[in-house]
C-alpha cells in the first residue's frame, strides 16, 4: 500500500504570540515550531498500516524551509521518504493554497491512501484534507478513529458529535482526516534518527500558484468576554481566598 501522510509544522503550545508590524500575521522569527498534533496521529496510523500491509509511507509537507525539521522527525519515526513543497509564502497560506500546492506535488505519485490530521493547531481551518480529496478526485472521510484497509476496500470509523460514531466504506484510493487519540504515538529511536539522514526529501517548487481566498485584515489578542478576577498571593493565600469567594460570593460550594 502506498500511503501519503500530509503534515504541517505549527508553533509550539508554549509559544507566546507576537504580531508582525502590520498586525496581520505573527512574528515567525520569534516562534518555535513542532509537528501539528493531529498530523502526528495521522503519521502514526500510516506507519501502522504499512507495518500491517507493507508498502511505503511518504511524508508530504507544504511550507517554508523550516518545515524540514518536522519532515526529518517524521522520517526518523519511520516514514520512507518525503516531498517538501517549499515556498516562504506557504507559511501563512490558506487551505486552498496549501491543498493546491500539495495536490500538484502528489498527483503523479498515485497514492492508495492519503492521511492527514483533522485540522491544524495554527490557522485551524479543518479544510486541507477534504479540499485535497476534491483536487485529487478521491472520496474522503473525516475525523477518523479507526482504519480497516484490505486490498482496494476501505472501512473507517468516523467520529460524530456527542459520543456517536459511524462506519463508512469507500473504494481506494481515498483521503482520510485523522482524529487525535486514534492510536498511541511512537517516539523516534536513535537508530531511526540516524536512518532518517539517508532518506530522500524531494523538494518541489510550487507550480501555478492558486489564488488566495482569504485575507487577514487584522490579527489581535482576543477581547475578554468576561471579567476574570485573578487571585494573587502565595498558593495558600490564593487557595484560601478562592474558597472564600466560591462560598460567599458565587455560593457554589458549602
Amino acid at each position: 500500500m502506498k500511503i501519503a501522510v500530509c503534515i504541517k509544522q505549527v508553533p509550539t503550545r508554549e509559544w507566546q504570540p507576537r504580531l508582525n508590524d502590520t498586525r496581520t500575521w505573527i512574528r515567525d522569527q520569534d516562534a518555535s515550531f513542532e509537528m501539528n498534533e493531529p498530523d502526528a496521529y495521522a503519521l502514526e496510523e500510516s506507519l501502522r498500516l504499512k507495518e500491517k500491509h507493507g508498502g511505503e509511507v511518504v511524508v508530504c509537507s507544504a511550507g517554508p524551509a523550516r518545515v524540514a525539521q518536522v519532515i526529518r522527525e517524521a522520517l526518523a519515526r519511520g516514514a520512507d521518504r518525503a516531498i517538501h513543497v517549499e515556498d516562504e509564502a506557504l507559511a501563512s497560506a490558506d487551505a486552498f493554497v496549501t491543498s493546491g500546492a500539495l495536490a500538484a506535488a502528489m498527483k503523479d505519485e498515485q497514492f492508495d491512501l492519503v492521511l492527514t490530521g483533522l485540522q491544524s493547531d495554527d490557522q485551524g481551518f479543518a479544510q486541507v484534507g477534504v479540499v485535497l480529496a476534491e483536487r485529487l478526485g478521491r472520496p474522503h472521510a473525516t475525523i477518523i478513529m479507526e482504519v480497516q484497509a484490505d486490498g482496494s476496500n476501505l472501512r473507517v470509523k468516523r467520529e460524530l458529535e456527542g459520543g456517536w460514531f459511524q462506519w463508512v466504506a469507500m473504494p481506494m484510493p481515498a483521503v482520510l482526516t485523522i482524529q487525535s487519540g486514534i492510536n498511541q504515538l511512537r517516539y523516534a529511536t536513535l537508530k531511526g534518527i540516524m536512518a532518517a539522514k539517508k532518506k530522500e526529501i524531494r523538494k518541489v517548487v510550487p507550480s501555478a500558484a492558486v489564488a488566495p481566498t482569504q485575507k487577514i485584515v487584522s490579527l489581535y489578542v482576543p477581547e475578554k468576554g468576561k471579567k476574570t478576577q485573578i487571585i494573587g498571593g502565595s498558593a495558600a493565600e490564593a487557595a484560601k481566598e478562592l474558597v472564600r469567594k466560591l462560598r460567599d460570593e458565587a455560593r457554589v460550594i458549602s
Binding site: L19, A141, T142, G163, V168, S180, P222, K226, Q229, A239
Partner: protein, 323 residues
C-alpha cells in the same frame, strides 16, 4: 441572497441551525440581502416547517432519496445545484462535524472561499469581515473572503445564540427545489450511527465538576485532582488529550467530541482552553481556572483565576475547603 444550510438527522433539526440563522440575520442587516433557509435531505418537511417560524424570506427543501443517509458526495452534488439555482451571495452553515465533512469539498468544487469556525461579523471599511480564532484561540483574526461570490462561512457552535434568531410574524413561505443527484456516483457507503458504550456518567447533570488538562503532566497526578473533586463534592472530568492518553475514560471527556456540561461550578486544572474544550463548558455558571500560563485562553471565560503551579495550589485548596 444569503443561504443558510440547515442540518438535520432522521428528520430532527440540529439546534445549531438556529444559531446560524441568527448570524445570517446579522449579516443581512449589514448587506441588506434576503435570507433563504435550505433544508437538504429526504423526509425533511417537519424540519422545514419548524424553520419557517424564522424571520426569513423563504424555506426551500432540497429533497432527494440519494441524500439519506448523509454522504459528502451526495450533499456536494445537491447543494452545488441548489446554490447555483438560488444565486447565493453567502452560504452560511453551522461548524458541525457534518459541515466539516462536506463544506470544504463543496467550496473547492465551486472554487469559492470558505471561512470556518467564525464567531462574529464586523465591517472592515467597505468589506464585511468575519471574526475567527487562530492559534488555538491565542489570537483572533478579522478575515475578508477573496474572489467571486458566493462566499461560504461556517459558524462556531455557541458563538450565536439560537434564541437570538428573530421569528417572523407569520410562517415564511416554503417551496421544494428539485435537484438531480446520481446515486450511483456516491462513493461513500455509510452504516448506521452507534454509541460506543452507554454513557455511565452523565456529566451534564453534575452540579460541580473538576476538570483536568495537559497541565496535570502525568497519570499519577490524576489522584490529586480526584482528591480535590471529593473535597468539593464534584465529578471528575477532563479535556480530550487526557482521555486520548487513557488517563481517564472517554466518557469523562468535556468538549465538542465529548459531553457538553453546565454545572454551577467548573474548576479547570491545567486546561489551556482550546475552542473544542470551551464549547463544552462555557455554559457553566461559575468557572475557575488554575493555570501556569497567564495568557491561556481559559482565562477568557473564567470568573476566577489563579496563575501558578497547580501542584502547589490544589493541595492548598483541599486544605482550605476542609477548614
Amino acid at each position: 441572497m444569503i443561504l443558510v444550510i440547515a442540518e438535520q438527522r432522521d428528520g430532527k433539526l440540529n439546534r445549531a441551525t438556529w444559531e446560524t440563522i441568527a448570524a445570517a440575520q446579522q449579516l443581512a442587516a449589514a448587506t441588506s440581502g434576503p435570507i433563504t433557509v435550505v433544508v437538504p435531505g429526504a423526509g425533511v418537511q417537519t424540519v422545514a416547517k419548524e424553520l419557517a417560524a424564522a424571520e426569513v424570506k423563504e424555506v426551500v427543501t432540497v429533497e432527494n432519496p440519494a441524500l439519506e443517509p448523509y454522504t459528502p458526495d451526495g450533499f456536494t452534488a445537491a447543494l452545488q445545484a441548489a446554490i447555483t439555482e438560488l444565486a447565493a451571495t453567502h452560504v452560511l452553515l453551522p461548524h458541525t462535524y457534518q459541515t466539516r465533512d462536506f463544506a470544504p469539498k463543496l467550496a473547492a468544487r465551486m472554487d469559492r472561499a470558505l471561512l470556518t469556525d467564525v464567531t462574529g461579523i464586523r465591517s472592515a471599511g467597505a468589506d464585511t469581515a468575519f471574526v475567527r480564532p487562530m492559534f488555538q484561540g491565542k489570537l483572533t483574526a478579522d478575515v475578508v473572503p477573496q474572489g467571486p461570490a458566493p462566499h461560504f462561512v461556517t459558524f462556531q457552535i455557541g458563538a450565536y445564540r439560537a434564541d437570538q434568531a428573530a421569528k417572523g410574524a407569520s410562517p415564511a413561505p416554503m417551496r421544494a427545489l428539485t435537484v438531480a443527484v446520481d446515486a450511483a456516483a456516491i462513493r461513500e457507503k455509510p452504516e448506521p450511527p452507534f454509541q460506543q458504550a452507554k454513557q455511565a456518567v452523565d456529566l451534564s447533570q453534575a452540579e460541580r465538576i473538576v476538570s483536568v488538562g495537559r497541565g496535570i503532566k502525568e497519570q499519577a497526578n490524576i489522584a490529586l485532582a480526584q482528591k480535590l473533586a471529593e473535597a468539593l463534592g464534584a465529578e471528575i472530568a477532563a479535556s480530550r488529550p487526557i482521555c486520548d492518553a487513557g488517563w481517564l475514560p472517554m466518557e469523562r471527556q468535556v468538549g465538542s467530541s465529548g459531553q457538553t456540561v453546565a454545572p454551577k461550578l467548573y474548576l479547570a486544572l491545567g486546561i489551556s482552553g482550546a475552542i473544542q474544550h470551551l464549547v463544552g463548558m462555557k455554559g457553566a455558571s461559575t468557572i475557575v481556572a488554575i493555570n501556569k500560563d497567564p495568557d491561556a485562553p481559559i482565562f477568557e471565560v473564567a470568573d476566577y483565576g489563579i496563575v501558578g503551579d497547580l501542584f502547589e495550589i490544589v493541595p492548598a485548596i483541599i486544605e482550605a475547603v476542609k477548614q
